[in-house]
Structure formats: C-alpha cells, structure tokens
C-alpha cells in the first residue's frame, strides 16, 4: 500500500434484546451522532468532511426492499453517495477501505444495524438456502451450526465442555463491557444444563436475539492524523467464500477462514499471528465457532481449539486474548456482528478498553456471513 488508511473513530449502541423506542434510522443516528460529535466532521461535497457512506443492513431483516433507503437521511445519503452491502458489516468496512485506496474519497462513514427482535430469524435464514433442494427441509443456521459442531467434535474429539468454556469466558468478559447485552458469571455446568436447541447446541451456546448498531469513520492517512491523535491503521484484509451447498463442505474444518486469514496476514506482513497480534475479536455466533475459528486463524493446529481455551491463552489475561469484549455470545445483532469486531479491535488499540483493556499494538477482527461461516473476512489492524 502506498498510503495508509486509518480508522479514526468508532461508535456502538448498547446492545439490547429489544429497542421498541427507536426505528432503524433512529437507531443508526445514535451512532452517527456520536461520530459527528467526536470528530467534528459534517457531510460535505467539497472534500472538507465526510465524502461518502457505506452501510450494511438486510432487506429481510428490516422488512423493506433496499433497506438502506430508510437510513439514507441519517447516513448523509441525501444527494450524496451511499452504498450498501448486505453480507456483514466487516465487508462494509472493507468496501470503504477500497473506496479510499482507489483515490476516489478521503473520508468515508461506515454503519451497520439490525433489529433482530422485529421478525423471525429462522424464516430469514431459511430463505437464504436453495429453494429447490434445501428450503423445504426447514433448514436454518442453528441447525447447520449443530451439523458443523457435531462434525467438528467427531473429527477432532472436541468436547461439549470445551465449547461451554467459550460461553463462560466470553460472558464473564462481557461483565467489563458497558455495551454488552447479556454479561454473566456462569459455570460450565450452567451452559451444559441449559435447554437443548439442536444437539449439541444448547440455549447458552447460541448468540441471543439482539438490537443495535455500530459505525466508524475511515480516512486517508494525512486526514486521519488530523482527525485523531490515535488513528488505527488497516494493515491487511482478506476474504474467502465456500460452496453454496452445505453438503459439499468439510464442516469439521474451515478452509475458507484459513485462506482469508493467510490473505490478510500476507498483506499485513504477519508471519506468526500468535506472536505478532495481541488481541482477537472474532465472530462466534455459536460457542464451538470460537474454537474452530482460532484454528482457522492459525492460533493453534487443526483440532486443538479445545486445548487452546483450556490452556487459558485466550482468556482476558492470557497471551492471546480472544473476545475481551464478550464476543457475539454476549449479544450483538447479525450484520452488526463483524463491524462490531472491528470497532472492538480499534477500542483496544486506542487504549479505550476500560476494564477490558489488554496490551496490544496489533489486533485482528473477523466477520462472517451465511451458515457455518460460509463467507469469511479477516482484518488486521495496527497502531
């Protein structure tokens, strides 16, 4: 990269089970307003403010076709450029990064929002499957996650207790995050005795229903340095897809995440992520995913994700803290999920983590979309 692109400010709502007090646009404005206040920026056409916006939301979730229209007025989309991605918020950040790298814009706003409380997650997820072969089976992402969890456990001897440790760790970390929806002090037994949803996944193994929004401002180096004394640079990004038909995939591994991570590491010049990156904020919608994704990110060998968490290395005070924020298991909406991982990575590198602050000069954020992490994105950030 000839010039660095920085994240200058991030904002999140408090994540909550339901926000009946706000419409989508009002929810998004909560985070946009925080950014405008913090940076003093305004939406302008003359290169002195925010040049453009990239947003992430989903038509089905919002119940309107072209779900970015209702939020256009609060994202500077009135007679100005606004583009939407409908996968995960981390891809909106990726898109904004590319817009600035292209030379077209200097300062770009990124937002993501979802109010999961307003409709049926099962139906939305089911409609993403092949209408000819799969929709009629009633599949949703929780069922597919259970199929992946079972395959992963079978292949490598991962235990339900090791998965439960992820829930215990992340919900405990969430107690130190004022934005977290469902912090808790739990024992492994609490997780294992919560009601079964889809064997081997239980109620506490799954991310709860959540409403919320996240936003950030990206800027070209020269402007980033003027906007904040603590810019966080995007040093590497990589993404990788996997096949549409779930039966085509080896669910016990995550080859797409391995490739996405390698691509991001190559761009960032990382050769040993475990030594060079100090904090990891990753997308575990289900407990087993944190174990499997740590393998995919190269923090341990294949099949060793369970041993890794048992070692304490991924705890808040471990050598490679994973999800000091409390992760998605503590409650973050879909679409917002990956962008909130980036935001939490920025918070850590800016030293604004409060009680959850760890020591790091480089951080990794991972986002995903689709059943069993079908589409993966990895972003390496540094100061």
């Amino acid at each position: 990269m000839s010039e660095r692109i920085g994240i200058v400010a991030v904002a999140q709502t408090k994540y909550q089970k339901s926000r009946p007090d706000v419409r989508e646009s009002e929810l998004v404005y909560e985070v946009v307003e925080k950014l405008l206040t913090e940076t003093g920026l305004r939406f302008t056409d003359d290169g002195t403010g925010i040049d453009a916006a990239v947003t992430c939301s989903h038509d089905h979730w919002d119940g309107v076709t072209i779900s970015s229209w209702p939020i256009a007025d609060v994202t500077g989309g009135h007679l100005r450029p606004e583009e939407k991605v409908a996968e995960d918020g981390i891809f909106a950040a990726y898109y904004a990064f590319i817009q600035i790298l292209s030379g077209h814009y200097d300062v770009v706003l990124v937002t993501a929002h979802t109010k999961e409380s307003q409709t049926s997650k099962n139906l939305i997820e089911n409609s993403s499957f092949d209408p000819v072969y799969h929709q009629m089976l009633g599949l949703d992402y929780t069922m597919c996650a259970a199929l992946q969890a079972k395959r992963y456990m079978y292949k490598y001897g991962i235990t339900e207790e090791q998965c439960a440790r992820v829930v215990v760790k992340n919900k405990k970390n969430a107690c130190k995050n004022p934005n977290a929806q469902e912090p808790a002090e739990l024992e492994i037994g609490d997780v294992l005795s919560s009601r079964p949803l889809a064997y081997p996944i239980r109620y506490l193994d799954k991310k709860p229903t959540s409403d919320g929004a996240c936003a950030m401002i990206l800027a070209r180096e020269e402007k980033a340095k003027k906007l904040t004394d603590r810019p966080v640079w995007i040093e590497g990004v990589g993404s990788c897809y996997e096949g549409y038909y779930i039966g085509d995939r080896e669910l016990g591994d995550c080859e797409n995440l391995i490739k996405a991570a390698k691509s991001a590491y190559r761009m960032a010049g990382i050769s040993d992520p475990k030594k060079e990156i100090g904090v990891f904020e990753i997308s575990e919608e289900y407990s087993y995913q944190e174990l499997l994704w740590t393998e995919g990110l190269g923090l341990c060998d294949k099949g060793r994700g369970g041993t890794l968490i048992e070692s304490g290395a991924t705890a808040l005070d471990g050598e490679i803290p994973v999800n000091p924020s409390g992760g998605l298991l503590s409650g973050v909406p879909t679409n917002v999920a990956g962008l909130s991982r980036v935001a939490e990575a920025v918070i850590q590198l800016q030293g604004k983590g409060g009680d959850r602050q760890v020591s790091a000069r480089k951080a990794l954020a991972q986002g995903m979309c689709g059943p069993c992490g079908q589409l993966q994105c990895v972003m390496v950030l540094g100061i």
Partner: protein, 146 residues
Amino acid sequence: MLLFPGKIIMDYSHAAGRVGSRFLAELKKSKRLLAIRCRTCNRVYIPPRLTCKTCFHNMEDWIELDGRGTLLTYTTVYYGEPVLDREAPTTYGIIRLDGADTGLVHFLNEVKQQDLRVGLRLEPVFKNERNGNILDIKYFRPIKSG
C-alpha cells in the same frame, strides 16, 4: 411504544432448471436418485447442478445411485421451526451416498437417539405419493440387516 405490524408475502415460481428438473422427475416417477459427474475431475455431485464448481465445465454424465450411504454428521432439533408443519424433535443428517463425492442433507428417522453415530449406514424411505420435490424422500433410516 407502538409496534406496527408488517408482513411480506411473495409467491415465487423457482425454476428447477434442466438438471434439477430431471433429478426431481426421476425421483417422483421411479424413486431413483440421480447424481451428476464432471468429466474433467470425475467428482460426482448430489444434489446435481449444471456446472462443476472446480472445473467450470457444464456436466452431462448422469449416474444412478442406489440410495444407500454413510452418515457424516447429524443433529436433533428440539424447537419447532415455522417452515415445515412438523412437530419437534426432528433429526437431520448429512449423508454421503455411495458413489457420490458430496453430502446430501435430509431427515433421519426410525433410529433411536442412542444409536445415532457418524458412520451409520443409511437407506432412503420414499413417499408413496410423490410431488417432484426433495420431500419425495421421506427420510433416511439405518439399513435393515439381512
């Protein structure tokens, strides 16, 4: 705060395409499970689709599978989901059919929870009244010995 009810109801006519149509027609007519093979990499796909995702060639070689296969993974779902009019619990599996290189997702039945295991040998049970869709396979069950 006021909650304003909304609903999206859309009817679609999804084309099964020429490959999907043949698969579903054979399933309906004769309870035959057809897979499709790529001539370049020899990979055998079920459910069949037109294009090999590895070689980017359209496929034409149809192969009839006998329907028996091996369980790759499974889950028992304890909540009722709104798509199907069925009562929980429901067991799903991904089955590697003999002669195929991909797994088929479907229901499992006639098997006790304690007997479920990866590697279980399975066979399909078909509906008597078939409509030309994936539910013409009623479910897979353990192969009866003998």
